[in-house]
Every structure is written in structure tokens, then in C-alpha cells.
Amino acid sequence: MSAVLGVSTTTQAASCCGGGSASSLILPKFSRAMIDVSMDYEHYDGFWDNQGKISMDPQGSDLNQYRLNLGYAQRLAPRWQASVTLPYVWNKNQYANLQRDTSGIGDASLSAWYEAFDKIACVWEVKNWEDLLPAIYWGGTLTLPTGISPYDDVADNFDITGRGAYRLDASVLIDKTIYPWNASISASYGKYLERPVNREYGTYVAPYDKQLGDRVNYIAAFGYTYFTDTMESLTGTLSYAYLKEDQAEIDGVTDTTSGLRKESIAATMAWASEDRDWVAKLTWSHAPQRDGWGRNFPTTNIITAGVSHVLR
């Protein structure tokens, strides 16, 4: 269940230049649309407790989640694009004397991005100061509670595929490529909307209001691109991600048992066709199993394989 707390890896679609190194579902400049399909495999291996110390899962446990992520991005105007992502989630949880395999739709998201630049900001060499200008995107994302939450008619926590609350994120992505090198940083701040709750794990309870804590997310990435003789490209990217969610409130009272933090590192290899219309990606995201790299959150390894197709 804990995976639904985390960050969807419906990402790493294509950079502003095409080729697959950015950290969001971003449509390359001058492209009209993009389809993105990816599959995540997330393996749980212990967790950080509320003080940030590593604890191990119970003996005999094997906890996994698979996610099929469907994404579509559409250009709306020369500087505007929008995208939608929809995950389908499979939970496979094995404990010593208990096995639960469940599945369902995850939380969908709708995004809009504004491109604060007119020309492609990827250059082969720096000839003047304008060549140093990065591509800057300003974005907003609405996460819809389309997943199965603890507040639905579910048997127990193993059924969960979503948080059960709307969230609005404001994001910025700064991306610069001076071939063969690429660097990007992104930051987002998200606010959950308060919601009423009258049911927990299928049982009706006295109604109350719940507001999950605000969420911040930073990603820094650095990559290198190798071009073949036919101008196909292979891009390797290393990234660092920081995620923090503040404590929730229940009827206006802070829930000191909630909130989370996670730091992770990831390596991505992306292949792009000569015309950059096809991008295949493989990402390994790792949460170091060390004290202090997180709090109140599982330590996981995530492998993501995906394909993007750009429609010109």
C-alpha cells in the first residue's frame, strides 16, 4: 500500500529536445502530441521509521507493486502543452502466512505546462550568451483520486491503489543541453484538498475531515548523450530526488504520526530514434537503505521500462 504514497514514475518521457532525459511527461518543442507507456516494478525492502531509522519488513515477506502507466501529451499552442497520465496498479504482497494480490486503477493526473522559451534550447556549442539560456517550463498538475483509497468499500489496506484526495501541484522544470551533456532540475509544491471521510476500510465511521500534508519534490539530473553514426542517440542520466510530505490534519488537529520524507537516486538509459520520434527508456530508482535518507516511508527499488512516441 505504501507505494501509493510515493511518486509515480510516469516520467522520463522525453526532454525538450527529444531523446528522453527530462523528469516529467514533457512534449518536445514543436511536436504536436506524444504517447507514453511505461511499466514500473517496485520492490519493497524495509522502511524508515518515524525517526528515520531503517527497519526491516517482517520475516518471510515479499512485497511488490507493478504499475502500468499510460500517458498522453498534447500541444495546445506554441508555448502550451497538456498531458494526462493514468496508472493501473497491481499489488502483490506475500507475508509468512498471508498472501494478497489485488489490482485497480491508480490516481490519474492532468497537467498543463507553459514553455518560457521560443527556440529549442539545446545547442552543440556555445557561440554567444543566448546559447546558455535553458528551457524553462512552468507547470500545474491536478491529481485526481481515481485510485482505490482506504475510504472506499475495500476489505483492507492491501487493496489500496490511491490516496483518496485531490492534489494541486505547481512545478518548474529547468533543462539545459549542450551536447553531449544535459542537466535539469525540477521542483514542485503540492497541496492536497481537504476531504470528508465517513468510511475506513469498508466500515462506516463517524464523519471527519482530513487534509493530507503539503508536498515538495525536487529532482536534479545530469546526463550524457552518445550519438551513433545514424544519429540515433543513447542518453545516460543520473538523478537525485527528494520528496517530503508534511503532517496531515484531522478535523484541524495535526496528525503527528503522519508525514514522510524520501531521498532516492536513479539511473536512466534512453534510446531515441534518429528523428527522435521513438524513445525507449529503462530506469532504476534506488532508495538507499541507510538511516536518515527518509522518514516514515518504505525503502524501495523501482525498475521502469517505457516507450514514448512523438507525433509531429
Binding site: D57, P58, A96, N97, I105, Y151, A206, P207, T254
Partner: protein, 197 residues
């Protein structure tokens, strides 16, 4: 295939997908338009069940040391009566430990010296007494105010319609006073303050 062709080809599948989403998933609509109305049904006071106001059926579980833990032993006519029995369902996850740490560090100290309370951690995932003991030791609860119970076949989980993070409070007559998510511990604290001398 041109961009326009692709859009036309995608339109129907996407529409079907959207219809399936909206028609097949009542749960989806529950979260998109959440309700704050009180839909708890009425319970017959004194009936056996798992809802507040009902009587908890007696049960026996092994604790982490292999001793029998019998609910009725801790009720009024039992051999080791308590004012209140508190059961918390744990799967040794981040949320579970955060809750049980909060109970241990914040709730329990508030009521030390006020009556007798049995605090139980119900481990429904470890599958054996020895594994429950190992989890109890690994997570620092051995020798604590908690009695850790091994619900090896999830019988107690089923009895109380439990899940990760659910806390159940039973009074000395066997009446269930609380059966809900621990949340921030406020409901448990308020209840103990009302129940304990």
C-alpha cells in the same frame, strides 16, 4: 500514419476506457465526490459483533512468548480483569510503527496509574509466534507496555474487520467502544480519559 489518423484511432478506445472507468467503479466516484454524511447503521446493543456498541466475541491468541491471551480473562469476571482492553492491528509497516510509537510515547504515559489497561499489538502478518517475537524484538517493543499477540491465521483480523492501523477498544463488560483507524490518537486518548478512573 498521420497525426490526425492517430487521433481518430485513439478517440474510440479512450472513450471506451473513460466509460469503463466511470461505470465500473463506484469506488472511483466515492473519492471524486466524497461524502461527509454519517452512514453508520444502527447496532443492537448487546449483540455479538465488531461495531461500537456490540459485544466482542471471546477469543484466544498466543502472545509473543507463547502464552495464551484470552479476552475474557481481562473482562470483569476474568482472572486478570482490566478496565479497558486496547488492540492495535500492526503489520510492522511505517504507519503501524508510527502509530504504536505514538501510543507508547504519548498515550500510555498519560494514563499510567489510572486504572488498568491492557495494550495489545495484534500482529496479523508474521504467521507464527516465533516470527511475531522476532518482529517485536526488531522493532523495540519487547518488554514494553504492549502485549504482542500472534494472529497467525488472521482470525482476529476477520473478527474485527481489521486492517493496518485499526485500533479497537473494549470495556470491562466486553462492549466495543471504538473500532476505527488510529488516525492521530485523539479518539483513543479521549476515550481512555472517559473510561479510566
Amino acid at each position: 500514419m498521420s497525426y490526425v489518423d492517430v487521433r481518430q484511432h485513439l478517440r474510440l478506445p479512450l472513450l471506451i476506457l473513460l466509460c469503463l472507468l466511470l461505470s465500473a467503479c463506484n469506488d472511483l466516484l466515492d473519492d471524486l465526490n466524497p461524502s461527509g454524511s454519517d452512514k453508520r447503521g444502527t447496532v443492537v446493543a448487546g449483540s455479538i459483533g465488531n461495531r461500537p456498541g456490540q459485544i466482542a466475541a471471546d477469543f484466544t491468541l498466543k502472545d509473543s512468548l507463547g502464552n495464551n491471551f484470552v479476552l475474557s480473562d481481562h473482562l470483569t469476571a476474568g482472572s486478570d480483569p482490566a478496565d479497558v482492553v486496547v488492540l492495535y492491528f500492526t503489520m510492522w509497516c511505517p504507519v503501524c510503527l508510527s502509530h504504536s510509537d505514538h501510543m507508547y510515547n504519548t498515550v500510555i504515559p498519560q494514563f499510567t496509574g489510572r486504572g488498568t489497561v491492557v495494550y495489545g499489538l495484534v500482529d496479523f502478518v508474521s504467521g507464527s509466534v516465533s516470527a511475531t517475537r522476532a518482529a517485536e524484538l526488531a522493532n523495540g517493543f519487547a518488554g514494553s507496555a504492549f502485549t504482542t499477540l500472534a494472529d497467525t491465521n488472521q482470525g482476529l483480523l476477520d473478527q474485527f474487520n481489521g486492517a493496518m492501523g485499526i485500533v479497537v477498544v473494549i470495556d470491562s463488560d466486553g462492549t466495543i467502544l471504538l473500532n476505527e483507524d488510529y488516525r492521530n490518537g485523539t479518539a483513543l486518548t479521549t476515550l481512555l480519559d472517559q473510561q479510566l478512573p
